[in-house]
């Protein structure tokens, strides 16, 4: 029996355990993941994991219960079904919860990297070693840290309306930090990347780029103020990621805290900002469907700076009177309780080279990435965080001297409204589990506020 057939057969067995009056959807998530983490130039924390989890959502007379289990034996599945029904029987009714949908056509075809799926521990260690070697090529004395993650997920989703879907996806992600801690103050550089095919991740190139970003002279103090900035892709991706949660989460509109509540269809960013969510694009980390079995498709978020509709799952789409956009999360996760958010964001590149962007900023700051970014005010899309791993002055149209790290507190929408130019090259960035990706160029922004500084 193929893995697909076996997975769908398991889900059918779960649904068969339910009474005739139950509506339900059920998913099987089979993950194989590996990480080689390194620090101080050594691979110090390898990690391999194999997990199979079944998650069942049962609806009994508009009352919903959700149970998750890792025991796929007949006894385990019976306990799962019983547990979900027990929860449903006591739940307050949710009369607005919609009916589950059957399949409405084939899923988009997503290329699946067998090479990634067949990655061995030895192969993964080789990737990590490549990152170390790449960084050492450029800076032999640097302290190198980072990680390479590789994995696959087999996802099967079925429901009592006849849906039975199966999809596989593969992902890889790497990051490298190069530091010279012996300097006073210490200096560092960073690079990261992601790809759905681990053979194309190129950790050695990430290592070289991280080392090249390390300042060669001592960073100077800089007065916190509003500056023109060139945000490298890793930094710009932070803003786009937070915009996704604060502005395009359907729950934000529903509950009143969203940053784009009342602004749909209005210009909220510069016209150059053209942002979509597209789970089918190979420019991100593609996946064919969400965790409710809805097909992924292209969904506009910002069309020439104009705010589009939020992304939805089954429940939020019904409440909004729309159709699900394919952003259902596993219903039992804390992320499910926060609502659906964009998962594969892609920002259209501009036409500027790196030098063009630097000249455009003329006098300001080049930021490699941000650290520990958190929400200050959701409704105003205000976030705060620190610069990290390579912050430089731009003076008279050239990158000059390094500066000590600064804290910013800025509105995401405010920053996007002052985007002046975008780079012509996009970089694919992703999380370690391959659940979400953001593909963005670098961005020249007219005004970005820094409100304090740190000592290094």
């Amino acid at each position: 029996m193929s893995e697909r057939s076996e997975a769908l057969a398991t889900l059918e067995r779960v649904l068969d355990l339910l009474p005739a009056n139950a509506a339900a959807d059920v998913r099987l998530m089979r993950d194989r993941t590996g990480t080689m983490r390194f620090a101080n130039g050594q691979i110090h924390q390898p990690h391999l994991e194999r997990s199979s989890i079944v998650s069942l959502r049962v609806v009994l007379e508009a009352k919903i219960g959700i149970a998750t289990a890792g025991d796929l034996t007949p006894a385990g599945l019976r306990r799962l079904a019983a547990s979900a029904q027990k929860l449903a029987r006591v739940a307050p009714a949710d009369p607005k919860f919609p009916a589950f949908e059957s399949d409405d056509g084939p899923l988009p075809k997503i290329r699946f990297s067998r090479a990634t799926a067949e990655m061995t521990p030895e192969g993964l260690a080789r990737l990590a070693a490549g990152a170390l070697d790449g960084a050492r090529e450029v800076l032999p004395d640097a302290r190198i840290s980072g990680a390479v993650h590789v994995g696959t997920e087999q996802l099967a989703v079925a429901n009592t309306s006849g849906r039975a879907r199966y999809a596989e996806r593969a992902f890889s992600q790497g990051s490298v930090l190069a530091e010279l801690p012996q300097r006073d103050p210490p200096v560092s550089g960073w690079a990261e990347g992601a790809h759905w095919d681990a053979r194309r991740l190129d950790p050695a190139a990430l290592g070289r780029r991280a080392a090249e970003t390390v300042a060669r002279s001592a960073p100077a103090s800089l007065k916190p103020a509003a500056y023109r900035v060139l945000l490298q892709p890793a930094a710009f991706a932070e803003l786009i990621g937070f915009l996704g949660f604060l502005g395009f989460n359907a729950r934000g509109d529903e509950e009143g805290w969203g940053a784009l509540r009342g602004k749909r269809g209005r210009k909220v960013a510069a016209p150059a900002v053209r942002l979509t969510d597209d789970g089918t694009s190979e420019d991100g980390i593609p996946q064919a469907m969400d965790y409710e079995g809805h097909a992924k498709r292209r969904h506009p978020l910002l069309v020439r700076g104009v705010a589009g509709a939020p992304v939805t799952d089954l429940r939020s789409a019904a409440r909004a009177g729309t159709v699900p956009t394919g952003h259902g999360t596993p219903p039992e996760s804390p992320y499910g309780d926060w609502g659906p958010t964009p998962t594969q964001q892609l920002l259209e590149p501009g036409s500027a080279s790196f030098d063009d962007l630097v000249k455009r900023v003329k006098n300001g700051l080049l930021v490699t990435r941000f650290h520990y970014v958190r929400v200050v005010h959701a409704g105003k899309s205000t976030i705060t965080g620190m610069t990290r791993d390579g912050t430089y002055r731009i003076e008279n149209g050239a990158v000059t001297t390094p500066v000590k790290n600064l804290r910013f507190t800025e509105s995401v929408l405010g920053a996007l409204a002052s985007v002046e130019a975008l780079g012509r090259e996009r970089y694919r960035l992703g999380d370690e589990g391959g659940y979400a990706s953001i593909t963005v160029p670098a961005a020249a922004i007219g005004r970005f506020r820094f409100n304090s500084a740190t000592a290094f």
């Binding site: 990690h47 391999l48 194999r50 030895e122 260690a125 200050v376 205000t382 507190t409 740190t454």
Partner: protein, 483 residues
């Protein structure tokens, strides 16, 4: 489970492996009940089991995990763990050294629980949450009311290749509520007992009952509405009095993480960051004022960071971290303790579950109480701000520059709490901030909080940790209002 422990260890002890340990999670349960605006927003239960095997070769650690208790899968898990260690060791320079420590022989630890939260009828738990949430809606401006309950339990068997073994059954619970009030152009939220889903404890349903969420709801709803029209917190260096819940987070971010020895040794540099501390600072660095006394206590009754043995088999203990303002200790593991030259590990290695390797995690990091009542803390303030309940938090990667926002602020004027402030924010630099603490609240202001969501590691994992903290007063702090 003892047989499975022996089977896994036997499979792991192959050529090239010097040490192995195994954690069998026979049952790892999680329950999350939440209501939002009268509807159930989450009624979920999770029941998992699995095995995590860690091995050590001469040059590297290895780790593998599988979500199964089937012997064949456990043997495969052991083989994968060995392969990862040997694969990593090929590229490592230098030996991997750890402290050799005697681990327990058939130890046993169990949480003290009066009412098992998983046995409480669901109807009773939901009734409690619905009562709490309903009473938040004191005004049409409260657009969103939310009340939630979480419970975790794990039955774990540990064994290592030196013959050590223990069994533990740990239960954690937590509950909280929040009201979000919305007016044109403004959104304010007020939470209780605090944010991040409330308060948490190693206890049973009795702890949740004692929180009495329904009894506090209307106050929470009223405060959320009042914040909509409150004045924005004024700007300026001023005297700041922090409530116990916000101070707990301050301890977490600017002391707990900074004193994790793996951060100090740059083992977390690639993700969470490092520390402004260096090993040579222990015993000499001035961390804060005389009133600053911090202890890491894994034996504290009811703490989220309390256990019998850590996930390396090291017995729980209390370790002084800051003594009258001087750094005197750190959080360590067998590997990092060896590196520092400590005689033994500090016993702070924990994993989120069988599916993660253990890392140094905070236990219960407590700021010990001082001798000022709340009235006395306020009495010493001519003009200042009181802040409570965290809303936003951010700190640099060496744990120096921080900025925190709270849900609520109040003016302090001549020793009295006055008008409400909204969007209060304070910021600073860690040693300077702690050095500005000139009065520490006494036992009447002190509370043991639980923080359920401390993230670290790659792949990421979450630890539940405890923080006991009083209220305290700080001078000349940068304060402002977020616009």
């Amino acid at each position: 489970m003892d047989d499975l422990v022996r089977l896994g260890l036997a499979a792991a002890q192959t050529a090239g492996i010097q040490y192995a340990d195994i954690r069998v999670s026979a049952r790892q349960r999680y329950e999350h009940l939440a209501v939002r605006n009268g509807e159930a927003s989450a009624l979920t239960r999770s029941d998992r089991a699995g095995v995590g095997i860690r091995v050590r070769s001469a040059g590297a650690w290895g780790f593998a995990a599988v979500s199964s208790l089937e012997p064949a899968r456990v043997r495969e898990c052991a083989r994968l763990a060995v392969r990862t260690a040997l694969a990593a060791a090929r590229y490592n320079r230098g030996p991997l050294e750890v402290l050799e420590t005697r681990t327990p022989r058939k130890g046993r630890y169990a949480s003290k629980v009066r009412r098992d939260p998983f046995e409480i009828p669901l109807e009773e738990k939901l009734e409690y949450l619905l009562a709490a949430e309903q009473a938040l809606h004191v005004d049409p401006a409260v657009k969103n009311g939310h009340a939630s309950f979480h419970a975790w339990s794990e039955e774990k068997w540990f064994g290592d290749s030196t013959g050590g073994s223990f069994r533990s059954e740990i239960t954690h619970v937590g509950a909280g509520m929040d009201a979000t009030a919305v007016a044109t152009g403004e959104v304010q939220r007020r939470s209780a007992p605090t944010s991040f889903g409330g308060d948490y404890r190693q206890a049973g349903w009795e702890f949740i009952q004692a929180l009495d969420l329904p009894g506090q709801s209307s106050t929470v709803g009223k405060e959320a509405v009042a914040l909509l029209s409150a004045k924005v917190c004024p700007k300026g260096p001023t005297t700041l009095v922090l409530a116990t819940d916000q101070l707990a987070l301050q301890v977490h971010e600017s002391v707990g993480h900074a004193t994790e020895l793996d951060r100090i040794y740059a083992m977390e540099a690639g993700f969470a960051g490092t520390s402004f501390l260096a090993p040579g600072d222990i015993g000499s660095l001035r961390y804060g004022s005389e009133g600053m006394n911090i202890v890491a206590d894994a034996t504290e009754p009811g703490g989220l960071g309390t256990f019998g043995w850590d996930d390396e088999g090291i017995a729980a203990r209390a370790t002084p971290i800051v003594d009258h303002g001087t750094l005197v200790g750190v959080l360590s593991s067998r590997e990092t303790a060896r590196k520092l030259g400590l005689p033994e590990s500090g016993g702070t290695s924990r994993a989120e579950g069988y599916y993660r390797a253990p890392l140094i995690r905070m236990t219960n990091i407590d700021l010990l109480p001082g001798d000022h009542s709340m009235d006395e803390l306020l009495d010493g303030v001519g003009e200042g701000v009181f802040m409570a309940t965290n809303r936003s938090w951010s700190i640099d990667d060496k744990r120096l520059n921080f900025q925190f926002g709270t849900e609520v602020g109040r003016r302090i004027h001549r020793g009295e709490l006055g008008e409400l402030y909204r969007n209060p924010i304070y910021s600073g630099n860690t040693p300077e901030f702690w050095g500005s603490m000139d009065a520490v609240g006494d036992g009447s202001t002190w509370h043991l909080w639980g923080v359920p969501n401390c993230g670290k590691g790659q792949p990421q994992q979450v630890a539940r940790v405890g923080h006991g903290a009083p209220a305290a007063r700080f001078r000349n702090v940068a304060v402002r209002g977020g616009q």
